[in-house]
Each structure stands twice: as structure tokens, then as C-alpha cells.
Symmetry: C2
Subunit: 441 residues, 2 copies
């Protein structure tokens, strides 16, 4: 079953469970979907195709899935670092958001995020922020797969000055999306946290997303102070509190899940809750280290995320893979913990499951969307190559991504953008920053 | 005092203590040395120069200093990962070294390491391995500044089948270097560790290096098992044991220093011992986390290092900066710990001091060697730019380095090698690997 496009002369990782790397591999693409994956020892054994692309020995794999991001916060990248969490949030980020964030800010901040994500091999992202309709437009224009979520808090936020409107705005965003999306963008909502959203808000938001079979997203158990506050206010851990509210199920994805004890982990497993692990952000803000090996042992589905660029400060999934693989080894004093192949799966196949897109993307499987990337292996730091999973996790970097395809459409070829005007984007971003007095070098 | 070459239109970080970033900055270079550093608001205010280079708004800073590496181990990159330390070392690395490592292996492995280091902005490296004379030749050919050290162990190693010859070989290496080096390469020795070198060997090696005013290098207090062994064998911690032997002083640089209690830290501070911090390797092998904030508080000089590519698996100092800055924050539950500017200093100025090269390089200071790099800032993940130190540590990547100069000589221009033939190097490496049966993709 040949596709109308064929990528050949590649080392292919399908990321299907247990599948071996395919040397002399190819991927055939028909329209938006993968038609076939295989090996051909010589060119004449390749399936016929309308267009052929020689991957020149590069590594072809599913695009990376960033399960937790706040796209437009790229414009606050490096605004405030190395500060206590409360100072950072209360004295820098919240004031900056209330002063600067509007539709134009979100549009260009999201475009900048999209540029960075495409360049670094991300093909699907979960982006939770304000003015979600504007962000959605940016994703549709650039052709990047996204779960875009309208942020919900019980206090005034950009675009929703009266918090009583927060669910109405989210519902309107969701309802307006179904026509425009055509499957590339999922429109949903994101409750910021159990300490910024009241019980009613959390429950009504969950009801809204449950009715539409959409993922329900929230930050959960990120900091020790959140744990202490929930215990004080409700006599329950953050996880137990959300469970008591009835908002935890298989369509709930929680970011961080750091302060979760065994009872909490048992709840997460029983409810089939999905977890977004954001190690770079967790370390930088000194929030703590999520017990990922324990969650995985319980069969909980875990993906990786970068979080927003104000707290990371990049959207580079290679960095998250590298850190996730190493961090848990030292925390457990066990160098066999989270082996390379497992970490690559978290960043692709498992991440897609976290976002409810397991049937759509995350592996190179015939019938799934043609969301794939090519890694340029002909480089000093990728030579020699004994084990491609090891290289992806311990050696490769975002800049090694040379080509990116989403839904059968090339977004990046030979490191050049095809669907996003890069000089225009950076010019618009700089002019926006200067016009707002957000001065930088 | 104009130089004969001028790099202008740059954001310059001199890394001199307390010096502010210089917007519209320039660096004038005269021969091998920095002649002047300054700011010019308009082109006509620039000093005259024979040759001018427009840095196009890029960031110019001292080249990075990798204080601990085993260069030729690039050829074992990814050979064995995610294994218990003993299995990794005894079942994979030591057998591979005894089977494969010879002069040709070291030459091409070091060339590959040099290519990777130049591309990622390292201008000075400490490289401790076997066949050090061959490695030195590779550094001199490529023009990269290095402290090259002959490895010493009290058992048979590549090139020194009889361990009774180990000091003789090291002395011959040192003595043969002084003419060929001309200041670019320092030739010294490296005692592998207090558990692979006996007391006599350690003391004689220190005597040899002390006589010649050369740095004495060793691994120290890397693992819990080393700590337990030293306590068992000598009734002392690794640090106290080396102190009892009289080998600790201001010209001693120790790699890792993880298992050091307060008494050990006090010894390191009193003896002015220098420390190489290699966080990626320490996490990957689950060795532990060095108490770097405590060492710094005691005034101990600390640099960053990658360790060899068999245990990291790359030679990327940006990765070490990113991890060092974040790791200690979470270990101390303090997000103000190891702020970005301090980490950049560890990777440059302080690293030079660790290697006894503080007067030679590590800052952009008139009279010092012109060892500098240019970072291409015109990229999505480096936009916007509020704080250049934050970007270097939390956002930038090795591939952002566009130009590298060592001792006034360009080694990399617009990401192209000028002193090292890249296709030839990779071809020779691959043909060496295949001829040895070290099969890889």
C-alpha cells in the first residue's frame, strides 16, 4: 500500500511498544496519514511513491508531544529568574500578565512559541493560557497540532475581567472551535489549580469538558505550600480534594503531581488520571521532584512537558527528556531507573495518550496522522551511534531536528520554516515588546 | 589601543567580576591576545582595526572551560547506558578499553571530541586519558587550548601494560611537551583515583607535578562505595586520606567531590583545592549530588565539566550549566541558589582558575588570550532577551554557538570548522569503528 510520499534511507523508530529500530527504514505517507512503515535493503525494494525524500541516514520518529505549556508566556522568557516562587509569581508574573497580556500579545507570543516548538521537533502541544481563541488561530495558521485550553481562575485575568464569566468564556471558546479545528486543534479548558479555582468552578468546568468528551486540565500538587494549604482548608491532600469533588477520571490531565503520597498515587491510578511531568520547571522553581518511577510502576500514564517559557525558560522537549532520564536515577540512587527508550516513549507515545490523542498520533503506525520528525545524525555529538534511544535522550539536542511534518504537511524542511514567516514573527514580537515598554536587549 | 581585528555590534559579557553586560560592545584582538573591550554607540566611535567582524547583534563572551573530560571516550558514546555503575565499568568500559584503545583510537576519538567541543563553544578543556602524547598532537593541530593529562593507574592500561612504568610514561609525556606546546597545551598527569592508585603512586605523581608547577588531577569522592572503601582501608574519608598523603594543595583539581562532609569541605577549603563539578554524569550514573553551594560558600574554586562521553554522553557545557543551575535549587528547596550569572562564571572564569589558567583565559580582559565565542541570538528560543546570563543558562544550547576563537585564531566561523576537517574526521572515525568490529548504525 504505497503512500503518495515516501521518506526513505532513514533509521526509523516507530515507538510502537517493543518495536525494534528499523535500519534502512522508510515511512510512506498518504494525505494526512501514515500509509506504511518498513525496511528496504536496497532502493528498488522501496514502495512506489509520487514524491520521494531521501532522509540521508537521518533518524525518523514520531514528533514530540509537549503535554504542558503556556505558549504566549514566551514573551516573558527570562523576565524574572532565580527568585523565590511567591516573589516570582506575585511580584513579577501576575503583575506583568495583568499589565501586558491582551489578544495581540497572545497572538505573537503564541507564534513565537510555535516557531520554537517546530524547530525543536514538537508536533503536538497542550497550550493553556488566556485568549485561547487567538492562540488557536495561531496554531491553525502554522499547522501545528494542539490542545488549546482556555485558562480559568476565580479572579480577574487577561480577557476575563469578571471571574463570574470564566466558564462562559471557556464554553464559548470550546463551542466556536469545532468547525474551525478540523481535527488539528482540540479546544478545551484548563482550571489553573485547586487553590485559584473554587469547588464550584472545578466541578462545573469538569462537567462542561466531560459532556463534550474533552480533556480537563489543571495544575496539581506542584508545591509544598499548595499541599499545606489544601490540608488546612479541606483536611485533604490536593489529589484527595479533587477526587472528593469528583473531577478525576481518565480524561483529566494534571501537571506536576510532585507532592503526592502513596494514597494520592493510588487515587491517580484508580481514576486513570494522566500526569504531565515538567522536570526543568520543577527544578528551576525548586518545587520538588515528582515520584515518576512510582507513578509508572502503578501503571499511570505519564507524559513530559516544558511548562511555560517564563519558568523553564525554553520549550525544548530534548531538555526535558535528558533531565527526566537523569534526575530520577540520582533521586533513587539507581542508574537503571527510567532507561532511555522509556523516556523517549514518555515524550511521544505516552504524551499523546495524556492528551487523549493516543489513537491519533504518538507512534508511526499506519492509519495514524503523519506527525513525524527527522533528526540529522551526521554530527560530532551524535557519532558513533550504538543505540538511537540513548542518543535521543543523552546526546541529541533540539537543533538536531532538521524536518518536521504534522498531518502530512511539512512545517520545517532543512531547518527552514514552511508555514510560519520567521523574520516577520521576530520583527512583530520585537516591535510589540518595544511598543509596550517591555524593554530588552 | 586598537587591535588588528575588531569584533563589533555585539552584546559583550567580559565575565570580569561585577562587570555589566556591554550593549553595542566590541572586542579588539591583537595577535593572540585581547587588546581592548568597550562600547561604541555608533560605528564611527569604534577603534580602527585591520579587519572588522560584524557580530550582527550576537553575544560575545569568553569561551567555555570544560574542567574534566576523557576526550577519546567519544568513541564509546552510548556503548552502554542505564546500567549499575559496577556493571557499566567492569563489564563494558574497562573491557572495551583494554580491547580497543590504542594510539589510533585515541587520535581519532580526540579529534571527534575536539570537533564536538569547538561546535559547542568550549575553548579550553582538561582531557585526561591514555596515549596523552597522541591526544596532545590532536589539540595542537586543531588549535584548541587544553590541559592534557596522562592517566595513571596501578594496573595495566592501554599504552602502559606494566603499571610499574606509569610514572615514567607520564614524566616522559610531560617532558616532551614543553617545546611543542607554546602555551596552547599544558602537559600534566592524572591519577585516576585513590582506589586505583596506591599511596606511593599518588605521592610520587604529586611530587612530579609539583616540581614542574603543573596541576595534579584526580577523581575524588565520586561514589558512596569509594567513601566506604576508603574508610575501610584507611579509616579516613577519600579527602582526608589524600590530605594525609600530602597531595592536596592549590594546584590539585579533583573531579566530582560528591561524598564530602563538613570536615572534608574544610580540608578542601584550607588546602585551596579546586573542584570540577560534572552534574550530568553524576546524575546519569546515580553517583549523587555534590554540595556545590556549600563549597562555594567556603570560597572553594569550582568549575564545570562534562566528564567523558561514555558516561554523559556529550561534551556540551551548556547542558552542564543548565543542570547545575537547576539541580541545586531543588536539592536545597531554594530557587535563589546558584543564580544564572554565577553559573556562567563557573563555566568560564572559575573553570580557568580550576585548571591553573586564571591569568591566561576565562574572562575578556586586555592582555589575556583571545579565547572567545559568539552566540547567535536571532532565534526563537532566545527571543526576547531580558538577561543574557539567564539565556545562557536556562535557554541557550550548544548549537547556538556560531563562532569560536582560541588564542586569536578562528576555529569556527558561521558554524563551519576552520582548523579541523569535519568530513574527514567522521569518515576516519567510522572506518576505525568498523575495522575494529565496534559496529554501530
Amino acid at each position: 500500500m504505497p503512500g503518495d510520499r515516501l521518506i526513505y534511507n532513514a533509521l526509523v523508530l516507530t515507538l510502537e511498544p517493543g518495536a525494534p529500530p528499523l535500519a534502512c527504514g522508510y515511512v510512506a505517507v498518504q494525505g494526512e496519514r501514515i500509509a506504511a512503515v518498513g525496511q528496504a535493503a536496497s532502493p528498488e525494494k522501496l514502495p512506489a511513491a509520487g514524491e520521494q525524500l531521501d532522509a540521508q541516514g537521518g533518524l525518523v520518529m514520531p514528533g514530540l508531544v509537549n503535554t504542558h505549556n503556556h505558549g504566549a508566556m514566551t514573551l516573558f522568557r527570562g523576565l524574572a529568574d532565580d527568585l523565590p516562587l511567591d516573589d516570582w509569581l506575585q511580584k513579577h508574573i501576575f503583575p506583568a500578565e495583568s499589565r501586558y497580556v491582551d489578544a495581540e500579545f497572545v497572538y505573537w507570543g503564541t507564534r513565537l512559541a510555535i516557531a520554537e516548538m517546530i524547530r525543536s521537533g514538537t508536533t503536538t502541544v497542550c497550550d493553556a493560557y488566556f485568549f485561547a481563541n487567538v492562540a488557536r488561530q495561531a496554531y491553525l495558521e502554522a499547522g501545528l497540532r494542539a490542545v488549546v485550553a482556555q485558562g480559568i481562575l476565580d479572579f480577574p485575568v487577561p480577557g476575563v475581567p469578571d471571574p463570574r464569566d470564566n466558564l462562559k468564556v471557556a464554553a464559548a471558546f470550546i463551542d466556536s472551535g469545532e468547525n474551525g479545528a478540523k481535527g488539528l486543534v482540540t479546544s478545551t479548558l484548563f482550571c489553573h489549580s485547586p487553590y485559584t479555582c473554587g469547588a464550584n468552578t472545578l466541578q462545573q468546568a469538569k462537567t462542561l469538558s466531560r459532556k463534550r468528551n474533552l480533556p480537563f486540565l489543571t495544575h496539581l500538587a506542584e508545591s509544598r505550600s499548595e499541599l499545606e494549604l489544601m490540608q488546612q482548608q479541606h483536611g485533604l491532600s490536593p489529589v484527595a480534594y479533587l477526587d472528593a469533588l469528583g473531577v478525576l477520571d481518565g480524561l483529566t490531565s494534571v501537571a506536576h503531581a510532585i507532592w503526592v503520597d502513596e494514597a494520592d498515587q493510588e487515587i491517580l491510578a484508580r481514576r486513570a488520571v494522566k500526569v504531565c511531568h515538567c522536570p526543568e520547571c520543577n527544578l528551576k522553581l525548586a518545587s520538588g521532584v515528582a515520584p515518576i518511577p512510582d507513578l509508572l510502576k502503578r501503571g499511570i500514564c505519564v507524559g513530559l512537558g516544558t511548562d511555560g517559557a517564563a519558568s523553564n525558560n525554553n520549550l525544548d522537549m530534548f531538555g526535558e527528556m535528558a533531565l527526566a532520564a537523569k534526575l530520577h536515577k540520582v533521586m533513587r540512587a539507581d542508574p537503571t531507573c527510567l532507561a532511555a527508550a522509556e523516556v523517549v516513549a514518555l515524550a511521544s507515545r505516552e504524551g499523546a495518550r495524556v492528551l487523549g490523542l493516543g489513537d491519533c498520533c504518538g507512534t508511526l503506525t499506519p492509519g495514524k496522522a503523519a506527525d513525524l520528525i527527522i533528526i540529522d545524525l551526521n554530527q560530532p555529538h551524535l557519532t558513533p551511534l550504538f543505540d538511537p534511544y540513548s542518543h535521543l535522550v543523552y546526546t541529541a539536542r533540539a537543533a538536531d531536528v532538521s524536518d518536521v511534518m504534522v498531518a502530512g504537511r511539512w512545517l520545517l524542511r532543512n531547518r527552514e520554516f514552511l508555514t510560519l514567516e520567521w523574520p516577520e514573527t521576530i520583527d512583530q514580537v520585537q516591535s510589540l515588546m518595544h511598543s509596550r515598554g517591555l524593554l530588552n536587549y
